[in-house]
Every structure is written in C-alpha cells, then in structure tokens.
Amino acid sequence: MRLEPRTKVPFVLVILAPIAAIVASFVLCAGLVAWSGASVLEAYWLLLKGALGSGFALSETFARATPLIFTGLAAAIAFKSRFWNIGAEGQLYAGALIITVLGTGMLDLHPGLMIPILVVSSAVAGALMLLGPVLLKINFGVDEVVTTLLLNFIVLLLVSLLLEGPLKDPMGLGWPQAEPVTEAAELPRLFRGLRLHSGLLLALLFSFIFWIVSIRTTLGYEMRAVGFNQKAARFAGMPVKRVMIITALISGGIAGIAGFSEVAGMKGNLTLDLSPGFGYTGIVVAMLAQLHPLGVIISASFVASIFVGADAMSRSAGVPSYIADVMVSVSLLCMLVSVLLVRFRIRWS
C-alpha cells in the first residue's frame, strides 16, 4: 500500500472529506458508547436532539460555539503565519480580567460607547499577552510554543490571586468570583429567555472581516506569504518581522475578545471556571477548519454541538459526558486522515 499525490483534486472530494471524517468519528466512537451500556443509535439520537433538537438546544450550542469561534480564529490566524500561539486560554482570561476591572463600575458610560471600549480593551489585553512571546521569538529565536503555553498558567494564577483578593466580590458568599459587570457592559441576549447572546454576531463579524483581510488586503497578502514561505517572503523584501508581530497581536486580540464575550454575554462575572479550556479547544477548531477563517465558524459549531449534545446524552442515556472529548479528538484525527486522502490517492499493490 502506498500514497501517491493526486494531480487533480476533485471538488466533490473536498466537500465530502469533512463529512466523511465526522461520520467515521461517530462510527469509531460507537464502540465506547456501547461499552458504557447504552444503545448506540439511541445515544446518538439523544446527542443530536440535545445539540440541535430544540430552540433551547440550538441556543446552548451556539452560545458554546461563540467563544470557540473566537479562540479558533485566533489559532487559525496565528498558525497560518506559522506562529504557534498555544496561549489563547491565557489571552482569554487577560481579556476577561481587563473587562472586570473596567466594567464593574470603574467606567460608567452609555452601552453604545461602553461595549466598543470594552471590546477594544479586551483585545489590547489579549494582544499584549502575545507581544512578549513574539518579540522573544523574532529577536532571540525563543520557541513561542513554550512561552505562550507557560503564560497560560501565569495568567490563571494571577486571576486566582486577584479573585481571592482585590477583585473578590463582597457579595459572593466567599466564592472566588468577581463582581458582575454593570448593565451597560452586558452584551444583549438575542432571544428572550435563551442564553444565546450578541457575542455570536461579533464572532461571525470578526471571522468575516478576517477572511476579507486575508484575501483582499496587502497585509493579508504579506501574512500568507510569510506563513507559506518565510525565506522567500524575506527575499522578496517583505517586512517579515513586522508581519509576524501584527499577526501575533491580531491573534492575541481576538482571543482576548473571547474573554469579553464570555464575561459580558454569558457568565456576567469573572470566575476561575470561566473557560473550560476554550483556548485549547480553539486549536482543535482551527485545525478542523484547516485554518480557514470561515471554516472556523462551521468547525466551532460542530465541536460545540458535540459538547452540548454529549451533556444531554449523558443525562438521559447514562453515557459519561467525557465521551465528548473523545469524539472531538477522534474527529480531529479523522479529519487529518481525510485531508491526507484528499491530497493523496491510495494504491493497493
């Protein structure tokens, strides 16, 4: 058995590959579902219903997809330029932290002014988190995987410190949580009685904007060139270092906005469990989307629906909800294989 590159890739295959990957991951996980004692078809039906089966389910799924679109986009932008930002989790918390400082009473403005200011400041906070790693990388060749990853823990510990100290909500019954943001700082809900909030629109807007930037602008041209072949980009006279810095700042900024969206749209205040690993799951989302800004929307929705659906499934069928993690991981592996099979053909001989 051997792989041979396809000279022409049929378009149907490009469309079918991700679908096939998802189907394959469901088939592969069926064994685990059966092992936990549930009927496979019933469990999957519950999962589907729990993720997409009602207005409430859809609201929960897309509310969960919102931060994943942000963090997925952050990873996609950075990875496309070969800057391995593993620190979206920390950048998300940095964004949430600044919102907590500014939004819980320090600023008192009209929502039309308040929200843009908070968006910008959370983006600045996230971007600053990446400034150090990117400068270390381009000036001294320090591996950004290490620096961005370790910064996650530093930020999380800082948040923990602040939530036990100066930012602790006096009305919080002793829990390590911050005061809720003021009403003017809250992102409006999209439907009455459902948790889905306008952070989703913001996420969609950023995906779209970045897609346009990537294909239409001079900056996007430079970013792609640097990502595909840094040596050739430098030879052609492109400002490689500047492009790397800008890329990192955009990536960190978008991850920072995820923190704003979660605090102002979803939770209302900063807690230590604000993000159940959205920053890391964002990496999976970006890889599933093959780093395409619009693909991130689809893959984030997929991953969110698995998580939300698995919760429902575990409640009704008794299958552990950890199966969601397995399914997402398996689907990523299947995706990688299917991408390979789109580019190469198997020859049995």
């Binding site: 051997r2 041979e4 396809r6 000279t7 022409k8 239409r216 602008t217 001079t218 900056l219 996007g220 041209y221 430079e222 792609r224 060139a225 595909f228 072949n229 040596k231 050739a232 980009a233 430098r234 030879f235 052609a236 006279g237 492109m238 400002p239 020859r347 001989s349």
Partner: protein, 529 residues
C-alpha cells in the same frame, strides 16, 4: 577517453544481461512519464541514460528502485522478476541508487550513515568494528577513501558523494544507479570520479549513469539510451555516437544557441571594495573581495559550491551586510542592506534556490509575479490589493516570458523548474533592473530552458544592464560571460576576459592550485579603466 570498439564488442560477447525492463509504462494524471520502455543492462557495462529534465529518467529509475509502481511492465534482475514498489526488495537483489540530492544524515558519522538501516532495529549490540573494517576495505578497493569517524556535515560535496556510493556498495549493490552524479563536482573531481567508476566496473559492477551532459556521457559510457517525453527514442553504442546526434535525439528539435554580440561596456554599476563577510560559525565566508561590473557586461563567477558564492549573492540581494569593505551602486555607497532597498536601487535578483527562496509554492503565479512590487500603487492602494492589475500584470509576464502549462491562478508549485525560472525571470526583468544577480540560473533546467534564460540575460545586457552570473557550470560561464573570476575559499580571483581562459585553467583555479601573478586590486583597476 572513448574506449575502442574492439574493447566493447569483446565485453559484450561475454556479457550476460543483469537487468531487464520490459514495457514499463507510468502515467501521472494526463502526463505519460514513461511510455512502454524496454531496456537491458549487461554485466560490467556503463549504460548512460540521457534526456532532458522531465524526459522520464528519474521516474524510470524510481520505478526500478521501487519508489513508484509502474502501471504496466515488468522488471527482472539477474533473471529474477522483482516485486515492484519495494525499495527493500530492490536493495536485496543488489540494486543501489545514488540520488542527485544526497540522502545522508548530516549529524551522524560516515560509519553511522553507512550502517543505518543495515542492522535490526531492536538488536542491542552493533558490530561497529566489523563494519568499519568492511567500509575501509570497500573504500580501498574502489578508491573511495573517506574517514569513517567524521561527521557528514564536515565533508565536502565530493566526499559526501563517495559516502553515498559506499552506502550502496556496503549493501552489496551489483547494479548502481547514479542520478546526475557530476552535477556537484569540479572538472578535476569529475575526472577522479570517472576513474572510480572504471574501478567499479572492472570490479564487476554494472552502472546506469543518468545525465544530461553529453560530453560526460561520451566519455564514460559504453552504450547510450536517450529518453524524450517519456519515450525511448534512441539506443546507440557510445563508440558510434556523436554529440550532435545525441543532442538532436535528446531535444527532438534544433536548439539555437543565443548569440552573444560584442558590446562596449559602459559605466561602472556595481563595485565591491575589499568586502569581508564572516560566516556564522566564525569562518570567513568572503575575505576582502573586490569586483567591478559595468553596464552592458556579464561577469561570471566560477567556483565549487560552498566557496562563498552564497555570501556574495546574499550580500547583493540585501540579506546581510558586510563586516568591512563597501559596496557601491552607480558610484553611491550602499548603507542599507535590505532586500527592499536593493529592489529600490534597481537590483534584480535571480536566486539560487527557486523553491525555497525564489517563489512561494502555495501561492499563485499571479501572487508570485508581484511579490517584489506588491506595494507599488498599481497593486496596492490604501492597504487593498488590486486583483485586476495583478492579474493583468501576471498574464503579461506569463505570455511574454512563455511560462507554460498553468493559468495565472494556479499554485506555483505545479510548475516545472524551467517554467518557475521563466516566471522569476519575468518578475525580475519587468522591473527593468540595472544590475542583475543571476545565481545558478540554469541549474536543473533542460537545454531549451537554459538557452531561453541565456537569451533573456543577453537581451538585458544589450539594454545596458550589468549582470553578475554565478555558476558552477563552466560552459555556461564561458558561453555568455564577458569576464570570469573564480572564487575559492571566500577569495575572489582577478577577472579574466573569456577569450583568454580555458576550462582547464578555471578548473585549477577552482581548486585553489594556481596563484595569479598580479595582485587582485591592480587587475580590477586595470579592467575598470
């Protein structure tokens, strides 16, 4: 160096067929890479496989060695059919391959490289002493001496090639495939290399020698097989072959060599004054190099690769600055060594490595065509790219420079080497450069494409450009240069007018053997006046 005919016929009478390819056909999409090829290799024979790039030589050898599986056809080695698609089986049956691009691990010693893969992965002991003795014996027997303990990274290119051959011999190869083995050697090294080949043949090996250099094929082989467009178009005894006949068979049409008109050189365009560049590991990459190139003049730099050519090229490309000495363009000292500043000063650069430096494979022809001028107002306004102008510009380059095969919106990586080089030429020449740095512009290209590149360079010269041509191909240098200098260990010789120097003299200078009688500076001054 040709062998006598009697010699050959005697040999053939006794020769058995060691390798037989029957009806090998291989199709990649719409491209027929090999079309019903039948081939026999006899014992103790040197069979030359001649053909342009893309003629199907490498595909055929990759099928033989098991990297590819043929769509139809069969292969027999020493009378045994060989299972296809298994390099392991090919090695077992005594086929060895020396690739054009070496497959050595730089960080391992020669011995480790040779032993790699010959011992079971899980065995705890390794019989290094026996292996070392065996390697040394092989080296002695075939004149391939290399110190087994040295790391491959420290070896010269010629020595690395010896290691590649030893690797195949160590695995008991009886049929050796050599893919463009002389591409990296100096004329003198090539001579020694041919001696080695003769020793191997008399030691009982059969060789397939892949090349596109006619003189070498005539010098070393017993029989020549010519491939063109995937088909076997000629099979000639070397003794009966002539260079013109082979060239005709290889190209299938007449190639007109570009004509080089005598031109009077103009004012000085590029002047290097005792430029010294330190390489990264502290060794001098360039020591006190001086050079003067005038308008309407092509100055060639000859040398074995790794003697400082890259440093000169990178310096003029604006990738780094010199530690001491100055570079002047049109009499003005250059202070800002960046690619963008060089482009601004009308320096056109044809890089050595088309894939890693010249082009961005995953971007389209159109995107690559403007990669050096994408910020100019016609392509970029207020941060937005003008796709329409880019498209027009690219289509113009594609048609003017005859880039074939793909549309302006296809990714560049699909192009053949020749078409990539045409695209780079188009990009460089569209900027009307006054100085052109052409680093190995003909490397890896077929005869037709090389002629095209030369024609374009000569046309630029006629328009008044000064051209610095860096090449390891002495014939290329002698064909189009006005003056030639030789670089050896970071030192540049004086320049010699092309009429007054021969390949043999250049070869000696390239190995640092001949000292010039006059000092460098005096001659450059004299040349400039």
């Amino acid at each position: 160096m040709k062998r006598s005919e009697i010699d050959i016929s005697e040999k053939q009478a006794a020769a058995e067929v060691v390798l037989r390819l029957r009806g090998i056909t291989k199709v990649f999409g719409s491209l027929v890479a090999n079309d019903d090829i039948n081939l026999e290799l006899k014992s103790g024979e040197v069979l030359a496989l001649l053909g342009e790039n893309g003629a199907g030589k490498t595909t055929l050898m990759n099928i033989l060695f098991g990297h590819y599986v043929a769509d139809s056809g069969s292969i027999e080695v020493f009378g045994h059919p060989i299972p296809q698609g298994s390099p392991h089986a090919a090695i077992e049956l005594g086929i060895g391959m020396v690739h054009q691009h070496f497959t050595l691990a730089d960080n391992l010693s020669v011995l480790d490289n040779v032993m790699l893969g010959t011992e079971p992965l899980w065995s705890l002991s390794s019989n290094r002493r026996a292996s070392r003795i065996r390697l040394e014996k092989l080296g002695e027997r075939f004149g391939l001496q290399v110190n087994p303990n040295v790391r491959v990274a420290e070896l010269s290119i010629g020595e690395r090639q010896r290691v590649e051959i030893l690797k195949a011999l160590y695995r008991n190869a009886r049929i050796l495939i050599l893919d463009e083995p002389t591409a990296v050697l100096t004329p003198q090294e090539t001579g020694t290399f041919f001696e080695t080949l003769k020793k191997m043949v008399s030691g009982g090996l059969s060789l397939i020698f892949i090349s596109h250099k006619m003189q070498e094929v005539l010098a070393i082989s017993d029989r020549v097989v010519v491939l063109r467009d995937g088909r076997l178009v000629a099979e000639i005894k070397t003794a009966d072959a002539s260079e013109t006949e082979l060239a005709q068979a290889m190209v299938g049409r007449n190639i007109e060599l570009p004509e080089r008109k005598a031109l009077k050189a103009g004012e000085s365009v590029l002047k290097l004054k005792s430029v010294t560049v330190k390489a990264e590991d502290g060794r001098a990459a360039l020591s006190s190099v001086s050079l003067d190139i005038r308008a309407s003049e092509i100055v060639g730099i000859a040398g074995v690769s790794g003697n400082g050519q890259t440093a000169i090229a990178d310096l003029i490309s604006g990738l780094f600055e010199p530690q001491s000495g100055t570079m002047e363009l049109h009499g003005e000292v250059v202070n800002n060594f960046t690619p963008r500043n060089m482009l601004r000063k009308k320096v056109g650069r044809i890089p050595e490595d088309r894939h890693s430096q010249g082009l961005i494979g995953d971007m389209t022809l159109a995107e690559n065509s403007i990669s050096e001028c994408y910020r100019e107002p016609q392509f970029s306004s207020y941060g937005w790219q003008n796709h329409l102008n880019r498209q027009r510009f690219a289509e113009n380059v594609v048609s003017k420079f005859d880039v074939r095969g793909y549309s302006a919106n296809s990714p560049v990586r699909l192009l053949s080497g020749g078409n990539m080089q045409k695209l780079i030429l188009g990009r460089v020449l569209s900027g009307n450069p006054q100085l052109i740095l052409a680093n190995q512009p003909g490397r890896g290209l077929d005869v037709g494409a090389v002629a095209y590149v030369h024609e374009q360079l000569l046309a630029a010269r006629a328009k008044g450009a000064a051209i610095l041509l860096i090449s390891e191909d002495l014939e290329e240098l002698l064909q189009i240069s006005d003056r030639i200098a030789v670089i050896h260990r970071g030192r540049l010789s004086e320049t010699f007018p092309r009429e007054s120097i021969s390949i043999a003299q250049l070869g000696l200078l390239m190995t640092g053997q001949q000292k010039s009688s006059t000092t460098k500076n005096q001659t450059t001054e004299a040349d400039a006046s």
